[in-house]
């Protein structure tokens, strides 16, 4: 298990745009460096990427939720 941490405070989005599909869903496979969402702060959107390869087990932050630096956004089951 590995947590994907937010490097930033701000608002977390799971989709690249309001009408778009989520970057990934629970149960999906992710690769190292794959974008799983983005954080908005200071009018900038920063992509959050996975440091691990595996399956997204669970999102801890909902779409539109607030995150703090170092907070776990999602957990990945490695392998």
């Amino acid at each position: 298990m590995a947590d994907i941490l937010s490097p930033l405070p701000g608002i977390f989005y799971r989709k690249p745009g309001p009408d778009k599909a989520p970057y990934v869903n629970e149960g999906d496979h992710v690769d190292v460096g794959q974008t799983v969402g983005m954080v908005e702060v200071m009018k900038q959107f920063t992509e959050v990427r996975s440091d691990a390869a595996g399956t997204i087990d669970h999102f801890h932050i909902e779409d539109g939720g607030t995150v703090n630096p170092g907070e776990a956004i999602a957990t990945v089951s490695e392998g």
Binding site: P9, M42, N68, P69
Partner: protein, 325 residues
């Protein structure tokens, strides 16, 4: 020599003590938002207080130096890494040519500072090297750093006379707290609030929102009550509107009576919102250190108290530079 920027961080800018004397034509003072932390970084690097440093917001850069360098990192608590190995903040760090510097995830606060002996050597614009992003002047191209930038570093002559400090005494370092009390002076437009409105401003606990940058910081909390009046010609229709006036750095406006905004060092110089109180100069750094979510109370002080706080801060700085008070 230069630092090659491999990753720029979120909003890394060149800042010095600021660009004074042009607010009347709309160009703000700018400068490091947490001025004391920036000054301490310069002291450690063996600079004067005037050299330009890098201000890093939330997410720091990753960079490589092309020559040996003396640097120091101060401000918000963050892991400093040189070639992947852990190093400390608040102390002098020696780099070799080719060394790579990177940072971990912030553990509190918002901004940290990187000083390098010789200073960041970008051109001086209107008396300052500070980046004013909204105006596109100063710093490196008038903008935050980008990947691939070569950030010029000045010739780092060893400081003359006294040896610079190896580290900043823990008792002198600024603290980065989740709850802060910020001193304000009511005015210039405090008469626009009812007595109850002013009680709300000074009595409530305000929470810093993520809507906070070099221009200003927005807080959430209760709604304040305005004195009813017929809005004068030239003022907008909302009771928080006034006929346009000059804004003081640190002034607090409350558009619509909700979510006060404190203007910081890159703020516009005027507009049409009533400034109900103004943060004293000695406490401007406190705002710059606050992370979103920080519980903030505004405490009213007199002009004498504000001036005493300013004098106290000057004497602390004088001690940092070894010149007593």
């Amino acid at each position: 020599m230069a630092f090659e920027i491999l990753e720029p961080g979120l909003a890394t800018t060149v800042q010095d003590r600021g660009r004074f004397g042009y607010y009347n034509v709309g160009i703000p003072q700018g400068g490091a938002m947490d001025a004391l932390s920036a000054e301490m970084a310069n002291a450690l690097a063996g600079n004067t207080p005037a050299e330009a440093v890098l201000e890093c917001t939330y997410m720091g850069p990753r960079f490589r130096t092309d020559d040996a360098a003396v640097i120091a990192v101060t401000g918000a608590p963050v892991d400093v890494k040189v070639n992947g190995g852990a190093r400390g903040e608040w102390s002098r760090l020696e780099l070799d040519a080719g060394d790579e510097v990177s940072f971990g995830i912030l553990r509190g606060g918002t901004r940290f500072y990187i000083a390098v002996r010789g200073g960041i050597d970008v051109p001086v614009v209107l008396g300052s090297r500070s980046t004013y992003g909204l105006g596109g002047i100063g710093g490196l191209g008038g903008r935050p750093l980008r990947a691939g930038d070569l950030v010029p570093v000045g010739n780092g002559a060893a400081p003359d006379g006294s040896e610079p400090p190896q580290e900043i005494d823990p008792g002198l370092r600024p603290v980065f707290e989740k709850e802060v009390s910020v001193r304000v002076m009511p005015g210039l437009y405090d008469h626009r609030l009812t007595a109850r409105g002013m009680e709300t401003l000074l009595g409530a606990t305000w929470t810093l929102t993520p809507v906070a940058d070099r221009t200003g910081l927005r807080y959430s909390g209760p709604e304040v009550e305005w004195e009813p009046r017929q809005q004068p010609f030239g003022a907008g229709s909302d009771p928080s509107n006034i006929v346009d006036a000059g804004y003081a750095v640190g002034s607090i406006q409350i558009p619509g009576g909700k979510e006060p905004i404190v203007l910081h060092r890159d703020a516009v110089s005027g507009g049409g919102y009533a400034m109900v109180a103004t943060v004293i100069s000695a406490d401007m750094d406190l705002l710059a250190r606050s992370a979103p979510g920080t519980k903030t109370r505004f405490r009213s002080v007199s002009m004498d108290e504000a001036l005493a706080a300013r004098a106290h801060q000057r004497s602390l700085r004088a001690r940092l530079w070894g010149s007593g008070d």
